[in-house]
Amino acid sequence: MKTKNLFILIVLFGAIIFSSCSKKEGCTDPSAENYDPNAEKDNGTCVYKTPTPPTATSGSVTFTFAHHFAGTTVTSADFNAFNYVNANNDTLSISKLKYLISDIRFYKSNGDSLVIEGYHFVDLTTSSTLTYAPTFDLPFDTYTGISFNFGLDSVDNVTNAYPDLNILNWNWLDTIGGGYHFMQMEGYYKYQGNDSAYTYHMGTAHNMMTMTNEQNYFKADLGAITITNNISIQIKMDISEWYKNPTNWDLNQYHSDLMMNYTAQKLMNTIGKDVFSLGVVVQ
């Protein structure tokens, strides 16, 4: 009995060894450099090309926001001090500066453009809002221009549509065109020796005579830029430009209740266009 068992065992082992020997071994992966079309059994010797890492052709883009009054830096630490004199020769302080920008666009030389859809809310008292890092892969290229909308355009300026703006009470009244505030700039100016309040609020322009509403956003241009890497782009606001070019803003005439003042709203649009410029670019 015992010998018989041993015999069967030897036969079985032999069969296994034989069958394994009968197949030609080699690299059986057609995608390998040393692929052997005759090999029937892979022996783990496949060699592959080391992929060369592709050269990056696009990267991230981050925007930062900086503010000055005709060259004098303005941060929330400067709020409430009568540090500024506008083109109309009014001495003023700033106690609040909040605004909305949207749809930043990069223009190519062939006339095409890339747009970063969405808005960003800036509040000088909240430092996190001074950086905007949209999820966007920006191709490296020479762009003939960068622009953004100050406020929201007619497609985006939808009444009560944005929860993060609603909770900030940022809405613009339905009765004067709806949508959202584009800017709230507030403070005091000296008037006959007294401190007099101003609330420079911008949004939809409502014409009470015709009972019509006019979109009031404008496109701010920052100029050309060549992008070769991940990039940080500073957007600078010169607050003094909200008071001049092409005409001077007179705080004695326009200080409060400006939301419903059609003339004031249109004037903000006219003189606001040169408020922004391209600041420090790091890439």
């Binding site: 909770i167 009470n169 809405n171 401190d195």
Partner: protein, 361 residues
Amino acid sequence: MKDVTLYIISCIVFTAFLFSCTKDTNSTGGSSIKPTPYELVIPQLFAQYITPPIIPENNPLTVQGIALGRKLFFDPILSGNGTQACASCHNPQSSFSDTSAFSMGIDGITGGRNAMPIFNMAWNLGEFFFWDGRANNVEAQALGPVINPIEMHNTWQSAVATLQNHSSYPDLFNAAFGTNMIDSTLVVKAIAQFERTLISSNSRFDKYLMGQISLTPQELDGFNAFMAENRGDCFHCHGNAANPLWTDNLFHNNGLDATFTDLGLGGITGNAADNGKCKTPSLRNLAYTAPYMHDGRFATLDEVINHYSEGLQYSPTIDPLLKYIGQGGVQLTVSDKAALKAFLLSLSDDSFVNNPDFQQP
């Protein structure tokens, strides 16, 4: 055969042993009780218009945590002499405020500010609590009154020891947090959980917005006065129909005084530009929260409206949104004042103050 059986049995035993080791890692309370997660019910207008509630990751709402917080909120056990609960100054019938200008603590001493009402806490976007914003979340807010010498006048050590020696609290903490070792962090976590469930969303104005009822012509006119830039101009701070919170949860000097005895936010930040600024209170539930302002100086809503209409006092940090300060304010007509008051009262929510889930357990 015998050996094989023994082998299989020992395998099973060993595997079972392994499982038992990986399953239960609880060591502090000796219990593996998992509290039941609680999903906050978001009111329709909140879901429609504003951002989701803020629930800290380290203090998720649970059924047991909320129940414990509710019990603690109404239990005088946290105070130094066992006479005063959170609810003593934050009474549900007063929208979790009280009817005094300054509340009295356990030693009969009154504080210096009006007790704030409590509701919709999970939507305080900047998370600044108290009139001066000195606490940066609900949990931190709840830490204060227990040890404030003119409020509950206790120490946390003593408060925790009393709870630890209580017949039922250790078990309740175990059910809520998986440990019966009580500390101040867990106490305020439980209270904060309860407070985040205190949602007010069912005033007459809410029902009007949801199309369930109509308002009176006077209430609607009051809303228009509230929203018009050249009438009340209340909306810049207190919001509009698309913000059911009726506050910006920010800080303003609303022209109460020419000089300050209470610096408000400025007392916390040390910035003179913040002097005299207090947190904008919500306009919900005004019917239950008199007297008004951070020092409870106004007994009636009429006095509040008169203040903004003709009572403003200039000071360097007064908010520029307050207009015609030289004349004392916006000079509302008698009918505008009456309409404004009618509208404001339509924001009061009797189903909130009477909600059985919010009463003493």
